[in-house]
């Protein structure tokens, strides 16, 4: 067997990478294998994510052909993204906002950030998360017929909602 990389020397290193049960094999000569860096694979789980995404994103090509919108900040189109697997800038997320939800549902399974928030954005996000939490608790209180608690929660909700309105 000939080395896949240089197509010259004999392949003596046979690597099988198994990622989530998916097997990929590569056959390299010793020199090319050494150059590819035996430990490089441990650096960051990239599992050629971009080519992987490329395939998934093709589904949306149909919508692309009709109108080629470009991001006003970086000039990239959605097609550029599907080809490269990378957006051009953070404004692309707004420019292509109609394509983002199905994309994120496929890649991440969800659309809702629940993690850290930068201090600059913190106030509003905290209040919004608190609102959601209160709404859930209120629903539960009503179901459990805990009316006193429900009344209290409702008052709390109103105050917070006013606060949010005031900020706008």
């Amino acid at each position: 067997m000939v080395c896949e990389q240089c197509q010259q020397r004999k392949a003596t290193v046979h690597l099988t990478r198994i990622i989530n049960g998916e097997k990929t094999e590569s056959h390299l000569c010793e020199m090319c294998a050494a150059e590819s860096g035996d430990m490089g694979w441990m650096m960051e789980p990239t599992f050629s994510i971009h080519s992987l995404l490329g395939g998934l994103l093709d589904v949306e090509q149909g919508t692309l052909k009709r109108k080629e919108t470009r991001c006003s900040h970086c000039g990239q189109s959605y097609r550029d993204f599907t080809e490269r697997g990378l957006f051009g800038c953070s404004s692309c997320y707004e420019t292509f906002s109609s394509q983002i939800p199905p994309l994120l549902r496929r890649v991440q399974g969800t659309m809702e950030h629940r993690g850290k928030v930068p201090v600059r954005a913190e106030g509003m996000v905290k209040v919004k998360r608190q609102l959601e939490q209160l709404r859930r608790e209120l629903e539960e209180a009503v179901i459990n017929e805990e009316y006193e608690l429900a009344a209290k929660l409702r008052d709390h909700l109103k105050t917070l909602e006013k606060q949010v309105e005031g900020e706008k």
Partner: protein, 344 residues
């Protein structure tokens, strides 16, 4: 920075018998710049200069364009930079603290990759480290952030928390008892990605596996870390059981295997990396099980790094052919083991 050993090779930390190292990284981007692959040299430099200013008190900034290929390869082997950062060396930099466990890759796929790498199972400490760095940067910079979907990244697979955590596990007993396949494929259903590097046959090179979180959006950072920790602990449990079974059912075979591995490593004059990894794994298992008592465990972790191709050439201070590397590798391993056996 090039010739010293990394902190992750210390071989200490919680569960060090099973966990070689823990990595945590956060992806962050500036609001007002395009992502790194679209930046010109000046814009890229502006970002580097800015982060250098902010971190100057306790971090040093290295412009990667000042390194040759060998130097960059060493940094990759030390897990300090990625291949991508090296490929973009004209626009990229590494910002690193005195203690090399915390660092920032500047202008990789995202503007900032804040990372921590520590020996043993230390995901929580790693998270604190990168969040501390994140807070420092955030005081001065405006990150690209959406209330709905969190931190915005060049690739949508990192959106949300931007958090990727991983552990490198040494699982020789699960491999020897043939249980590694079912264990790992079961776990991959719980939101983690499992990666191993296999040589010929079914044995993974060095019996090393990397487990990392698959999804970055929809959970809090602590939940992502807890889930990975939980799964790691499950694997450790299984590895412990397999080691117990091996010592109970096949001690003589195990002692034979460990003894042969040590014999090879202490006597070989030419050794390629696949063979060295295999024997090092056996020796490490022998140390962990008390079959070998005169070599400290950290010798294994240190050699994992020292035997890498670019490290060998950095030690020799010149480029080596594949054959010369195999010779150098054999001598580095012999010398290092005897040094550690004598308690040096």
């Amino acid at each position: 920075m090039l010739e010293t050993l990394s902190r992750w090779t210390l071989g200490e930390g919680p569960n060090a018998e099973y966990v070689v190292s823990s990595r945590v990284r956060l992806a962050r981007n500036l609001k007002d710049y395009s992502f790194p692959h679209l930046l010109n040299r000046e814009q890229a430099q502006e970002i580097i200069d800015e982060v250098q200013d902010i971190t100057a008190q306790s971090f040093s900034t290295y412009q990667l364009r000042e390194y040759d290929d060998l130097g960059l390869q060493v940094l990759i082997e030390k897990h300090l930079i990625s291949l991508l950062l090296a490929e973009q060396k004209h626009n990229s930099a590494l910002v690193i603290g005195d203690d090399d466990s915390a660092s920032i890759m500047v202008n990789e796929e995202d503007h900032f990759r804040l990372q921590s790498i520590m020996p043993g199972l230390e995901l929580r400490k790693g998270l604190y480290q990168v969040q501390h760095l994140d807070n420092l940067l955030e005081e001065h910079l405006e990150f690209a952030f959406s209330e709905q979907i969190g931190y915005l990244t060049a690739c949508p697979t990192n959106v949300g928390t931007g958090l990727r955590a991983s552990v490198m596990l040494h699982l020789p007993a699960l491999v020897m008892t043939g249980q590694i396949g079912p264990v790992l494929s079961t776990l991959s259903k719980f939101g983690v990605v499992v990666r191993g590097l296999y040589g010929e046959g079914t044995e993974a090179l060095g019996n090393l596996f990397q487990i990392s979180n698959q999804i970055t959006l929809g959970s809090e950072e602590e939940e992502i870390i807890s889930n990975l920790e939980l799964i790691t602990n499950k694997i450790i449990e299984q590895e412990k059981l397999a080691r117990k079974k091996l010592t109970h059912d096949a001690l003589l075979r195990l002692e034979d295997r460990v003894g042969r591995a040590l014999g090879t490593l202490t006597n070989a004059r030419i050794i390629n990396s696949a063979e060295a990894m295999k024997h090092l794994s056996d020796v490490r298992l022998g140390i962990d099980l008390g079959i070998i008592s005169d070599i400290p465990a950290k010798a294994f972790n240190e050699l994992l790094l020292l035997m890498q191709p670019a490290m060998l050439q950095a030690l020799e201070r010149k480029k080596l052919t594949a054959m010369e590397r195999d010779i150098k590798r054999a001598s580095v391993i012999r010398e290092h083991l005897s040094k550690r056996m004598e308690g040096r």
